[in-house]
């Protein structure tokens, strides 16, 4: 579980570094961006594998079956377990940034219950499928590509 928390923290730090490097003088540094993406990939893989381990011990809400996902024993990440959250994912091509990014606009979707995340915690919405990038078209990406594939697409524009 500690590894999980560490992985999330590293992911958040990495993404903020990536965003900061865009405004650096001299432009995006390919080497640095590549190293950042590798750290992010490691952190993401560890986070996912630890989530899967957790999921095996409880009802996994990400399964597409319609049964209720919430195991009463799992109290943390309650929002991630809620079925309503699942229905909010993959809403077509709407530019929805992963929740741990600093959001650029209000994202309160009508008709859904949503409670404010406590300060300091990151709501991690696996899989993070796309990051808004300067208005470019967003594609649904496979789970394996995730952050790394999208980040390298940003690099390709160099």
């Amino acid at each position: 579980m500690e590894v999980n928390v560490e992985a999330r923290r590293i992911l958040a730090v990495s993404i903020s570094k990536l965003y900061a490097s865009r405004t650096q003088r001299g432009g995006l540094r390919l080497h640095r961006s590549l190293l950042l993406s590798m750290v992010m990939r490691s952190a993401r893989d560890i986070y996912h594998s630890s989530r899967e381990t957790e999921g095996q011990t409880s009802e996994e809400p990400m399964e597409t079956s319609s049964k209720e996902g919430c195991d009463s024993e799992i109290t943390e990440d309650k929002e991630n377990m809620s079925p309503t959250k699942q229905s909010r994912k993959r809403r077509g091509k709407a530019s929805a940034a992963p929740d741990f990014l600093p959001s650029k606009r209000a994202r309160l979707e009508p008709g859904e219950e949503r409670y404010a995340a406590p300060m300091g915690s990151w709501r991690f919405d696996p899989p993070p499928t796309h990051i808004a990038h300067q208005g470019a078209d967003l594609h649904q990406r496979s789970r394996d590509r995730g952050i790394t594939g999208t980040m390298v697409q940003a690099l390709r524009s160099i």
Partner: protein
């Protein structure tokens, strides 16, 4: 080692340091695009108590900031590397590069000026022809030494990515320049074209897994060069094998120790510098925590590994957060390849004596470096009880880093650059 410190005449951050082939000249480049050249005072060199002094010889603005309008990107003027050409005549030549453009500079001395023109006054005004009644030959008279730097060649528009290395070939005619994905071969006389000799750009950039981090020509074999990667590998290439050297002749790689695996394994295995030994038999690489010596005849592991600051291995997460883990340290050999040197944090630098299996940590700071003062070895306490005079890891100053060091090609004189000061140390003479 005794020292003399040069006064901080430049405020900008030093980005490269390089002795010329005789060691008489020392060039530094900084973030502001300036090059400052120091010259060794050699008058008393043969005296037994000779102490080197390096004084400012020439200062010039090598690169200016530029703007790439197509990509809306500013091109930094920071000098990434300086490399001297071997001296062929009275003038000195060096190559300096920023992220995109390499320039060849000629540095020449002028210590005489002509006097006694027939048609001109001394101040340059033309004489009235009617007043000229005699003819004379102008003579050269001594004047105060003036050092002039003039750009002789500009090698531009050949690199899409950021240039990290330049290296002059032993043939004295060509040189290479390397960016993140490509290496180009230039002729020193020809600026409008270069040959691409290595290209590791994948067809699909999403498949990018490694970049080129440094490249260097072999000191004697003009067909051989090496380049290092962000994955910790070294590739030796032979230009006789084919025009495009994407296929290496030799691949030097050490298998990763699985017990050391962490989130940051890839970052710390990235090679930040590669240098051939003077005799051409070995290569030295610097990654974040260590220096490795490779024998050109053994590809599967280095022959020697030296830990620079192993106590940082448990701090990698903090070093990632404060960006220090991305610092690119350089390394250098001494003249006879018996000692190697590299920098660290807290203005420490490390020397490893290969033959005697000894290493020492020294500090470059004003407090510890009065002229003629012998440097005291330093020690970092990795854990447990801190002894007197030891410094604990937590009190190291990570803003004070020594990234650039250089060793005189023949003598035991070293140049060590802290953030914006240059220190020159030499072996104690009795």
């Amino acid at each position: 080692m005794s020292s003399n410190i040069l006064p901080p005449t430049f405020a900008d951050i030093i980005s490269t340091v390089e002795f010329n082939h005789t060691g008489e000249l020392l060039a530094t480049g900084d973030k502001g695009g300036r090059v400052v050249i120091f010259q060794q005072e050699i008058e008393n060199k043969n005296l037994p108590q000779f102490r080197s002094e390096y004084n400012v010889y020439s200062t010039f603005q090598s690169h200016e900031p530029e703007f790439d309008y197509l990509k809306s990107l500013e091109i930094e003027e920071k000098i990434n590397k300086i490399r001297w050409l071997p001296q062929k005549n009275a003038a000195q030549f060096l190559l300096s590069t920023n992220d995109k453009t390499i320039k060849l500079w000629k540095i020449s001395e002028r210590d005489k000026r002509p006097e006694g023109y027939n048609l001109k006054e001394e101040d340059g005004r033309y004489k009235d022809p009617n007043t000229i009644t005699s003819l004379r030959v102008p003579v050269l008279i001594p004047m105060d030494l003036m050092v002039e730097a003039s750009p002789r060649r500009v090698f531009a528009n050949a690199h899409t990515y950021h240039i990290n290395s330049i290296s002059v070939n032993s043939d004295d005619e060509t040189y290479l320049s390397a960016d993140d994905l490509r290496i180009n071969l230039w002729h020193l006389e020809i600026t409008d074209r270069s040959f691409n000799i290595v290209d590791i750009k994948p067809a699909n950039m999403e498949e990018l897994t490694e970049v080129i981090t440094a490249a260097e020509f072999h000191p004697h074999q003009c067909n051989t060069f090496v380049y290092s990667s962000s994955k910790g590998t070294l590739r030796l290439c032979d230009m006789r094998a084919s025009a495009l050297c994407d296929k290496h002749s030799k691949l030097f790689e050490e298998p990763e120790d699985p017990s050391n695996r962490s989130f940051f394994s890839e970052i710390i295995s990235s090679i930040s510098d590669v240098k051939f030994s003077h005799n051409g038999r070995y290569m030295m690489t610097r990654d974040y925590l260590s220096v490795k010596i490779w024998d050109l005849n053994m590809e599967n592991r280095p022959v020697e590994t030296y830990q620079v600051h192993e106590y940082l291995r448990s701090k990698l997460c903090s070093l990632y957060e404060n960006d220090c883990i991305f610092d690119k340290f350089e390394c250098c050999w001494n003249g006879n390849d018996s000692v190697v040197m590299t920098g660290s944090y807290n203005n420490f630098f490390r020397m490893f004596d290969r033959g005697q299996r000894r290493d020492v940590t020294l500090e470059a700071s004003r407090e510890n470096s009065k002229p003629m003062q012998v440097l005291k070895p330093r020690k970092v306490c990795a854990g447990g009880k801190r002894k007197k005079d030891e410094i604990s890891v937590d009190s190291l100053d990570f803003n004070k880093k020594i990234l650039h060091t250089a060793w005189h090609p023949q003598d035991n004189i070293i140049a060590v650059a802290t953030t914006n000061n240059l220190y020159i140390f030499q072996d104690k003479v009795n």
